[in-house]
Amino acid sequence: MDANASDLAGWFERSVLGVLPDLVATAKRLTRNAADAEDLVAEAVAKAWIAIATLKDRERFRGWIFRILTNEYLVQRRYRLSSPEPEPLPDDMIDFSIFERLHQPFLLWWSNPEKEFLDKLLREDLERAIDSVPEMFRVVVIFADVHGLSYQEIADTIGVPIGTVRSRLARGRSLLQKALWEHARDAGVRPQPRNRDAT
């Protein structure tokens, strides 16, 4: 191997290992399965090396390999990028807000239920909630909220218009909060007393 190839190989390994915890985390949230997540990451790393010549700017490695990981997942899942929007959600799930469920101004002088709710949340509560969101919305929520990608970056990654990203993100977050609210009820971490929530 010549010096340039050796440099490239060494750089590639360091770069992959540097983002490996992030890749595994994303793969776990996408696949919802630890073994499938590791297979997906390994496949993405292999594809990344094969396509290394297409990476023109090494500073963009992170976004580039995340795109490869996502594409691999989408291909494996036969995810149709142009698939039509799913059936409309019931009204109570279009704009579900935990804050609105908790926020009761007449009680706030003695408590802060929103803070109490968030303080009691465990990582596994969040993981269970996000894993319960349907794939089409979950992918967008993961990119926006877990990885902080811009709407344009998400649109480019999954190949949909930016307006679709906006709508899927809004619905995905609403579904996430609904699931979190229900998990919180099951785990007994909802602040008490609450009289606006009948579920």
């Binding site: 390994e13 992030d22 807000s97 968030l118 926006a144 809004a170 909060q177």
Partner: protein
Amino acid sequence: MNTQTIGCEEALRLLAEYLDGELHGSEHTSVEHHLKMCRSCFSRSEFEQRLKTELSHLGRVDVRPGFEQQIRQLITQFTAPTSKAPHDA
């Protein structure tokens, strides 16, 4: 710069994009101004921001040591000279 006054409904409609850093110019300024003036919307904003922060913590996990080793071996195989081209030595 003129700051257009907006109400709670408009502020909440724009809140997600504001927290995502997707608002610019007058819309950004208007939401920012409203949040300084409205305690309820400010509280909502704080809640949503904190939930976003909690979600961002899901973006990294401890990698199983055996898996990191697997990836190292995989990369070594890919990047070995024989995998790209015949021996030139």
